[in-house]
């Protein structure tokens, strides 16, 4: 149908384990947790008060102070990670916008988020309840929408091509990377940011997720002692919920000949994308990860490869009892005997679950695994669950020859996305 190929030429990230790619990758391969007690608000009324916060982040280092004041934290992260990615790709000009020799009309983005500017919305609503409607900020609305981040990134860096914000709960990041790939392959654009951002650490989220009994307990399952870094225990037999976190990751996807013509260095190629729905339940995943299976199969078909070509899966691995069980079953059903030769790790054991940004953060991880040959571990893995018998790369990073990596993302409402990347070869 087309010979257009989408390669990644730059990456940027802001995560609970580090600001910037260097700090983040160093923490992930060292097995360092980014989960700690909440400092962004007083979490004492809540049963569980731990999160994956981005630490020491100053928005004014990345944007004008006035803009920073008006924008939500999710937009701050998006702008910061986008700047790093553009610089990494050699696309950032001296005046802080995209290089003049790139056609900005053919440079767009799919910038996903789960909930957008929830912090700004709640602040506005609190003012409304306490002080009346006339005191609500006129800046609230355009800064709280789920597409505010994608709008501001376009404005700040001068990107005028196709621009959309996808929302599919926790599957968002995978959809954003996949849709960005498709936009390049179909010829809608030459360069696209595929990205996700999220800043959901507000009291209401802890009330809502707490009431759903969805959050992981911050204690050492052996000693019973309080330990925030132990709250996320994907695939471990004692896992009991996920940890909410925040951050943003941005991949610069570029049409291969466009990248080569300007002398850019392709890091990896995005070769497959699959998307499906469970059509099952608002909150629970379909049995045996049936929808996740169809997304993985569709991504393999789109990539034109068989299951045996895959070396590494970055799991959705949220640390909830049901997700990790069903995802393991889905991997077994799709990969058959090859499942036992795969490395499968969940970096949510360290970053927590950044909702709409998670899939983008994990696509970043896959690209780093392919380009460095190092697989970050699933930490806090001490008690094998007899039903979950894949190789989860427990506790220690591992050097490995990885040619093809797959990233899984699933969301509330039954959304599934899978993205496949390959080490770049001409």
């Amino acid at each position: 149908m087309t010979d257009r190929r989408a390669v990644v030429t730059g990456m940027g990230i802001v995560s609970p384990v580090g600001i910037g790619s260097e700090a983040t990758w160093d923490a992930l391969v060292s097995g360092r947790s980014g989960i700690a007690d909440i400092t962004l608000f007083d979490a004492s009324p809540f049963e569980i008060g731990v999160a994956g916060e981005v630490k020491g982040f100053d928005a004014t280092a990345y944007m004008d102070a006035k803009d920073a004041r008006r924008h939500d934290r999710n937009t701050h992260f998006a702008v910061a990670a986008s700047g790093e990615a553009l610089r990494d790709a050699g696309l950032l000009g001296e005046n802080g916008t995209v290089n003049g020799d790139v056609d900005a009309d053919r440079f767009g983005m799919v910038f996903g988020t789960g909930i957008g500017g929830i912090g700004i919305m709640l602040e506005g609503h609190k003012i409304l309840l306490e002080r009346g409607p006339r005191r609500v900020s006129p800046f609230m609305l355009p800064h709280m929408l789920p597409d505010s981040a994608s709008g501001q990134v376009a404005i700040q860096y001068g990107l005028r091509g196709p621009n959309m914000a996808v929302v599919s709960a926790c599957a968002t990041g995978g959809h954003a990377i996949g849709e960005a790939m498709e936009a390049i392959v179909r010829g809608q654009a030459d360069i696209m940011l595929g990205a996700g951002t999220e800043a959901p650490l507000v009291p209401l989220a802890f009330a809502g997720f707490g009431q759903m009994r969805a959050l992981g307990t911050p204690k050492d399952p052996d000693s019973g002692e309080y330990d925030a870094t132990m709250a996320s225990r994907p695939f471990d037999a004692t896992r009991d919920g996920f940890v909410v976190s925040e951050g943003s990751a941005v991949l610069v996807l570029e049409e291969l000949s466009h990248a080569l013509a300007r002398g850019a260095r392709p890091i990896v190629e995005v070769i497959g994308y699959g998307s499906s729905a469970d059509a099952y339940d608002m909150a629970a995943p379909a049995e045996r990860g049936e929808g996740n299976q169809r997304a993985m199969r569709a991504a393999l078909a789109r990539a034109g490869i068989g299951p045996e070509a895959v070396d590494y899966i970055n799991a959705h691995g949220t640390s909830t009892p049901l997700n990790d069980r069903y995802e393991t079953m889905a991997i077994r059903d799709v990969f058959g005997e090859h499942a036992d030769r795969l490395a499968v790790s969940s970096t949510k054991s360290m970053t927590g679950h950044a909702m709409g940004a998670a899939g983008a953060i994990e696509a970043y991880v896959c690209a780093k695994v392919l380009s460095t040959g190092c697989i970050p571990p699933t930490i806090n893995y001490r008690h094998p669950d007899p039903e979950l018998t894949l190789d989860y790369v427990p506790n220690e990073a591992r050097a490995a020859e990885v040619r093809v990596a797959l990233s899984n993302s699933m969301g509330l409402g039954g959304h599934n996305s899978s993205v496949i990347m390959r080490r770049f070869e001409e």
Binding site: A104, D105, P142, Q152, Y157, M164, G210, Q211
Partner: protein, 422 residues
């Protein structure tokens, strides 16, 4: 202008076979369309909350919507109103298309239903509960209700559709984007059928406070039905509305194979970003012009082929003048031979649903040979000098209609709809 688009595969053309709508002037397509053609305004005093004493006290609300007509009672209670409206519109569209969904095709159907604010109402309720009664009183259903993706997800769950389920948000351009995405999914061969559209329901104090304080809303509280007056010199802002509109979009060979009634086709589309400002449009209209030009190029159509533009036409001073300028820049002298009208004059601005409603209007104008009017045209504005089909509907053959959607943050989306000759 860069490369021309690849030639179209006739079998993979995206045709429209079913329509559904829940709007301020009718909770089904037939009622909506007859009122729109008759120039009936759906704007009135706000009833969903007490707006006494507020600066803005009018809205275009959906009236007498009964979720239980469409959805199991218990499930409806756990759905935000924006999702309820979406499920109802999708049910109508699927019935209208005659599409039977079963094990033979459920994996090959996608849902792309976009929104602006999603379940913002449930966020507001949850926060009030938490502030007044504590976190333990917050509903465990709040989180899965509020996600903007729940309109599309609930359509998938209620109808057993298991292909890609996608929600994209581009503020007020969201609805148009759904049709652009639907066409691509069909053309690319990902699926055979897409349930595509937009939904919005946010008639809430916090939304009115925010939009009102931006100066974006009309304050013509005493004459609600005259408040939305796109392109008229007396316009003073938009009227906030709620709605859902959904189309069944199919690959041409799939629709023909099952003998479906083909209403028209989505012939092309394009998205662009202004890269200008978080709420104001670029006054040059560059991004809007570029989106119209690219959409036509994508459709392999010359600009002279266009008969009718379903305008974004919000009734704000800036949008309507900028859109007029952008249309002139895109169409040159042909701009004076075009009909341009804004259905927002009657149903207000339904944000994430607006572009979806406009897509339905384009298809219905093609089907029936009738162009609905822009009502409340009383005083001409020299900055708005196109043919806006003032006040009275017009009979005209419409072969090609385009629908414009421009959003906060400078996101522009244009879809091209065309007649399909039997």
């Amino acid at each position: 202008m860069t490369r021309p688009p690849p030639p179209r595969d006739a079998a993979r053309r995206a045709v429209v076979t079913g329509l559904g709508a829940v709007t301020p002037i009718g909770n089904d397509v037939a009622t909506f369309w007859s009122n729109l053609v008759a120039g009936v305004s759906g704007v009135g005093p706000i009833t969903q909350f007490d707006a006494t004493g507020e600066e803005v006290r009018i809205a275009a609300e959906v009236k007498s919507f009964e979720p239980r007509d469409w959805i199991d009672f218990k499930q409806a209670r756990r759905m935000s109103r924006f999702a309820q409206l979406a499920v109802a519109a999708a049910r109508q569209a699927i019935d209208d298309s005659g599409l039977q969904i079963g094990d033979h095709n459920r994996d090959d159907i996608a849902v792309v239903v976009n929104t602006g604010g999603g379940g913002i109402g449930d966020v507001a309720i949850g926060q009030q509960t938490m502030l007044e009664q504590g976190g333990r009183r917050v509903s465990p259903f709040m989180v899965p209700m509020l996600s903007p993706s729940m309109g599309a997800a609930q359509i998938s769950i209620q109808n057993g559709i298991r292909g890609p389920v996608i929600t994209s948000v581009a503020a007020c351009a969201s609805g148009v984007q759904a049709f652009v995405e639907a066409q691509r999914l069909i053309e690319h061969g990902d699926v055979d059928v897409v349930i595509a559209g937009g939904t919005e329901s946010a008639i809430l104090p916090v939304a009115f406070a925010a939009l009102g304080n931006m100066g974006a809303l009309s304050k013509r509280n005493d004459e609600p039905e005259k408040a939305s007056r796109p392109f008229d010199a007396g316009r003073d802002g938009f009227v906030f509305g709620e709605a859902a509109a959904v189309m069944v979009v199919e690959a041409a060979d799939h629709a023909e194979g099952r003998g479906a009634n083909i209403l028209g086709e989505i012939a092309g589309g394009a998205l662009t970003g202004d890269a200008f400002h978080i709420s104001a449009p670029d006054p040059s209209g560059y991004g809007a012009t570029l989106a119209m030009q690219r959409a036509l190029r994508d459709a392999h159509l010359e600009m002279e082929a266009v008969d009718y533009i379903v305008a974004h036409g919000t009734s704000t001073p800036l949008n309507d003048a900028t859109e007029t300028k952008a249309i002139r820049a895109a169409f040159g002298t042909h701009a004076d031979r075009l009909a341009v009208s804004s259905n927002k004059s009657m149903i207000g601005h339904t944000l994430g649903a607006a572009g979806a409603v406009s897509g339905l209007v384009a298809i219905l104008a093609i089907r029936d040979g009738v162009i609905p009017p822009t009502i409340n045209q009383e005083t001409a504005d020299p900055a708005c000098d196109l043919d806006y089909v003032p006040n009275v509907a017009r009979r005209a053959t419409v072969n090609v209609a385009i629908s414009n959607g421009f959003g906060f943050g400078g996101q522009n989306a244009v879809s091209v709809f065309a007649r399909v000759d039997a």
